[in-house]
């Protein structure tokens, strides 16, 4: 009987340990981030969300998320960078990074240091491209984090 109890205890601890380790593997509490972003959507209806894993490298990088939108709809985008160890500039464009000429319709470039949540009510456009400009980091080859954006419409 005692052996069974011990085996049960070990098994449950292994399961708990394994689950917690998986949950924290990319150091990103997705549930908490989703909840935070959803609150900022207010009366906009949830449409989609995108988590992006960011690995800081010894070179700067640009990651892009293509977001198809529809003319005539009102959109709100909410970004949360709480789980990033360094600042990443978020910009929104109407053209992809391959376009010869483009201007950002939104950017966090001049945001006050320490702000981790950003809300952008988009104008009527046909396409949106969210770009993350990731700075160089040579201090730690394994430095990484995650960023989320959520989009709502009405």
């Amino acid at each position: 009987m005692k052996k069974i109890l011990f085996a049960g205890l070990i098994a449950s601890l292994v399961v708990t340990y394994g689950f917690t380790t998986i949950q924290s593997m990319d150091n990103c509490d997705k549930k908490a981030l989703t909840e935070k972003c959803k609150k900022k959507l207010e009366d906009f209806k949830y449409d989609s969300q995108k988590f992006s894993k960011i690995n800081f490298l010894e070179r700067d990088q640009k990651l892009e998320v293509e977001v198809p939108v529809f003319v005539g709809e009102k959109y709100r985008m909410v970004f949360n960078t709480s789980y990033l160890p360094k600042n990443v500039v978020i910009s929104v464009y109407t053209k992809s990074k391959d376009a010869k000429k483009r201007e950002a319709i939104y950017s966090t470039k001049d945001a006050i240091d320490g702000i981790k949540e950003f809300v952008f009510d988009a104008p009527h456009v046909r396409n949106m491209y969210v770009d993350y400009d990731i700075p160089i980091d040579s201090s730690n080859p394994k430095l990484s984090g995650c960023v989320i954006f959520m989009i709502g419409y009405k």
Binding site: D47, Q61, L63, T94
Partner: protein
């Protein structure tokens, strides 16, 4: 009293248990915003090259149904999938595609106040989600029960479906199954376009024609989103070819060639009757293939 052997077992067990609890507790709590930076060092040795430079965020089936509804699209009975036995779908691809088909039908019924039909599609969605191992999302925040309780209240149901979409997206992301998200949307988009084009055939409303044309504009993103997850399931290659076959027809239509919906274009495009027939025929084919689980 314990014998020496038993005492050793107890000590070993307690040591393992306390070590595991210490490690688990240390990782489980979300870091506070200002301390997050210190916590973010992964053990991932492939950190330099495992993130794609471009990714995709596809819209929800509910938004597409909402856009069609705003254009004045009326409800027509019997256009939605009449499949009553989701157990027929045996592969993950056909399950996910038809979860998308049912999601689109669910959204169409909810926005058109067809409560009983909506309930039927909700159950079908649940059944396929169970089959895909993700049925638990329906129990999150009592979504299933709240849906049932709010039957007849279109606004509340729409918000519940949006919430269901959110917990599903999060579940699939946490479980590294983003390919399901793209496959489900491919099924939902095809079903929405099928229903939209059939309603258009009957009423020929100009507003709906424009919205059908606008929806075609996102087909490229769907194909690219599927390509991005192609390695996760060998069957996705066939789906990409299917979706691309619709895009190939669209790209060759005179209305598209003469008025490309480029990023600078604000002019809404519409199709001629011949063009709609061509596209509808291909979408019909594809939709039949999906709902027959081929």
């Amino acid at each position: 009293m314990f014998s020496n052997k038993k005492l050793l077992v107890v000590k070993t067990t307690l040591f393992i248990a306390s070590t595991m609890l210490f490690v688990a507790c240390g990782n489980g709590e979300a870091p506070k915003e200002d301390t997050a930076a210190k916590a973010v060092v992964t053990e991932d040795s492939t950190a330099s090259n495992d993130v794609p430079e471009t990714s995709y965020s596809l819209p929800s089936p509910l938004q597409i149904a909402s856009i069609f509804k705003k254009s004045g699209m009326k409800y027509k009975a019997d256009l939605t999938s009449q499949m009553k036995d989701p157990a027929k779908y045996s592969t993950n691809l056909s399950k996910a595609l038809n979860l998308g088909v049912f999601s689109a039908d669910l959204s169409y019924c909810v926005l058109n106040k067809q409560s009983q039909e909506a309930m039927r599609y909700m159950k079908l969605c649940r059944s396929l989600a169970d089959n895909l191992g993700m049925g638990s999302v329906f129990d999150e925040s009592n979504l299933s029960k709240r849906f049932e309780k709010n039957l007849g209240n279109e606004d509340s149901l729409a918000y519940i479906i949006a919430e269901l979409q959110m917990v599903t997206d999060m579940y699939l992301d946490e479980n590294d199954q983003q390919q399901i998200t793209s496959i489900v949307f491919a099924g939902a988009w095809t079903e929405s376009m099928y229903v939209g084009s059939k309603v258009y055939e009957k009423g020929k409303e100009k507003g709906l024609n424009t919205k059908l044309a606008e929806q075609m504009n996102i087909l490229g993103s769907i194909v690219n989103a599927l390509k991005a997850v192609e390695k996760k399931d060998a069957a996705i290659g066939g789906l990409i070819a299917d979706m691309k076959s619709v895009k190939d027809i669209y790209d060759e239509l005179p209305s598209v060639k003469n008025n490309p919906q480029g990023e600078d274009s604000d002019k809404p495009m519409s199709f001629t009757e011949d063009e709609i027939v061509k596209l509808t025929k291909k979408i019909d084919e594809l939709r039949t293939k999906f709902i027959n689980g081929l």
